[in-house]
């Protein structure tokens, strides 16, 4: 594990240094240094430094660090989601419970590795009890819309994201004590796929995948990004219990899920008439703008590993 961690840190630092140097060179060569695209590129890379540093710190603290970090990410994501939805004064208690009860309980279940309850707490108990509490408030105005938005908010921001630290609870034979590397694999492949799709899209993008949902998603970006990220997954198979071929297949599947996550997030944003979820991460937008692909990829990755690699 020590060897892999060192390789990871060296590798990521090398990628970030290269990105910073390239961006610095482009800025230095550019005639107009305040061109929005360039400013955004530099902001994005700076934010990446901070995000990688934060994840590295959490990594160092192991299970506790990861659980707390992803609980905080859920908090930020849920706050962005609920801000964007229609709420009424009578929703106050349900909204409060989402932050003050559902997030802590879900992450406590992850931390104690209580798989049976962790997988059903939100889809069964919260699903049934939240609309019941809303109904008891007696306010039926736009009821279905309000309770649906609340369900979506906790499913995406809490339930799905909590599957990242839940990877630490899986027992993969011959892989004991190294589960943190599964998180590293998931995050690097999915976020790498986002970056590669962005790069391929900028360089070769012509044909839009879903022009009415997102103008920035192109077939060229999708194919190039997902293919190269799958190769990246194969190259990272030394982090995982997978063979290189299996790693490429798993990487392909989670990149595809990540793409769909971005697409759904774009559709929600478009429906609500906003461009970004928030402003938390300079150059990227809100937490959900960065995490939307991880939201869709994490549960699928968790269940693939659990089904095929655990006993």
């Amino acid at each position: 594990m020590m060897r892999e961690t060192t390789l990871l840190i060296v590798g990521l630092s090398a990628v970030l240094v290269t990105a910073s140097l390239v961006a610095g060179f482009l800025t230095w060569r550019a005639r107009d240094r305040n061109k929005p695209g360039l400013v955004n590129l530099n902001q994005r890379i700076q934010a990446w430094w901070i995000m990688v540093a934060l994840i590295a710190i959490a990594f160092f603290f192991g299970k506790d660090g990861m659980t707390v970090l992803f609980a905080l990410i859920s908090f930020a994501a849920l706050r962005e989601f609920v801000t964007l939805t229609h709420t009424r004064r009578s929703d106050h208690w349900v909204l409060l419970a989402m932050f003050a009860i559902i997030i802590p309980i879900q992450y406590w279940l992850v931390w104690t590795a209580w798989y049976g309850l962790f997988t059903i707490f939100i889809p069964v108990y919260c699903f049934l009890l939240m609309p019941a509490v809303t109904a008891l408030q007696g306010d039926t105005e736009r009821f279905l819309e309000r309770v649906s938005a609340q369900q979506w908010a906790v499913m995406l921001s809490v339930y799905c994201i909590s599957h990242v630290p839940a990877l630490l609870t899986l027992d993969v034979p011959g892989f004991e004590g190294r589960n943190l590397l599964l998180i590293a694999f998931l995050i690097i492949v999915v976020q790498g796929s986002d970056v590669l799709q962005y790069v391929f899209g900028k360089l070769f993008g012509r044909h839009k995948v879903a022009p009415s949902v997102s103008p920035s998603k192109t077939w060229e970006g999708l194919v190039g990004g997902v293919a190269s990220a799958s190769l990246l997954g194969a190259a990272l198979s030394f982090l995982t219990p997978f063979s290189p071929v299996h790693a490429a297949i798993v990487a392909f599947l989670i990149c595809l899920m990540g793409f769909l996550g971005g697409l759904v997030a774009s559709a929600i944003k478009r429906d609500q008439g906003v461009k970004d979820w928030g402003h938390m991460i300079e150059g990227h937008g809100g937490m959900l703008d960065r995490a939307d692909s991880l939201v869709f990829a994490a549960p699928v990755f968790f269940h693939i590993v659990r089904y095929f690699w655990t006993v």
């Binding site: 939805t85 229609h86 709420t87 008439g273 928030g278």
Partner: protein, 221 residues
């Protein structure tokens, strides 16, 4: 002895101010948006829409610390002066200016209390609607205090501030906040034009504040 007492109260106020601003940021991620005005040492009256007890905390959290020390909120004496605890919170912790919304004695005239603060050189946060807005209207009618202050102290800048979402974070009747993202939009200064009467000025100030309202989030196009 009184020196020590003063020191303790000053310490309490700074700690409250920094603590509450930090808390406001942690819960709402509040961001100031300066559109037509900038943070400045100039003496000002910040006037804002009002729907929640959190409004004034959110607004002051958007000011730089040294300006916040010199900016005091105007609060209703009949609410904040009601119990010793409320008075302690309002006056000693938040250093608000308590005014009487209904008064008969000339000494209770709210204008005097507000002018006294302005004459010390401090800025004010004022909610010209007079009370928390519980209607479906985004902004209710303004009381005349804003006009009177503007006429009596024409050198003080009047800055409209639109507080977004705070009524969803902490609605009237609740004391636990729901974490939602908030913004405060600071607009260009408004001043009384020569020959403008009370009614016209208040209407214009009202419109200037309302114009800062971003398209409400969570509402369809």
């Amino acid at each position: 002895m009184s020196g020590l007492r003063d020191f303790c109260f000053r310490l309490l106020r700074s700690a409250t101010s920094i603590g509450l601003s930090g808390l406001a940021w942690a819960i709402t991620g509040v961001r100031p948006i300066w559109m037509g005005s900038e943070p400045s040492e100039r003496q000002r009256i910040y006037f804002a829409n009002h729907a929640s007890h959190g409004d004034f905390i959110l607004l002051s959290a958007c000011l730089p610390e040294q300006l916040r020390q010199r900016t005091r909120a105007v609060a209703a004496a009949d609410y904040w002066g009601k119990t010793r605890l409320r008075r302690f919170i309002a006056e000693d912790m938040l250093s608000s200016v308590l005014i009487h919304r209904t008064w008969t004695e000339p000494a209770d005239n709210p204008i005097n209390a507000m002018l006294a603060v302005l004459d010390q050189g401090d800025s004010l946060i004022l909610f010209p609607e007079g009370t928390r807005n519980m209607t479906d209207e985004p902004l209710t009618r303004f009381r005349s205090g804003l006009y009177n202050l503007a006429v009596m102290r024409p050198e003080v800048e009047l800055i409209p501030c639109w507080i977004e979402n705070m009524s969803r974070v902490l609605p009237k009747g609740h004391f636990l906040p729901v974490p939602l993202l908030c913004r405060v939009v600071f607009g260009p200064p408004v001043r009384v034009e020569s020959g403008e009467d009370r009614h016209d000025f208040l209407k214009r100030a009202h419109a200037a504040l309302l114009a800062l309202q971003p398209r409400p989030r969570g509402k369809r196009k």
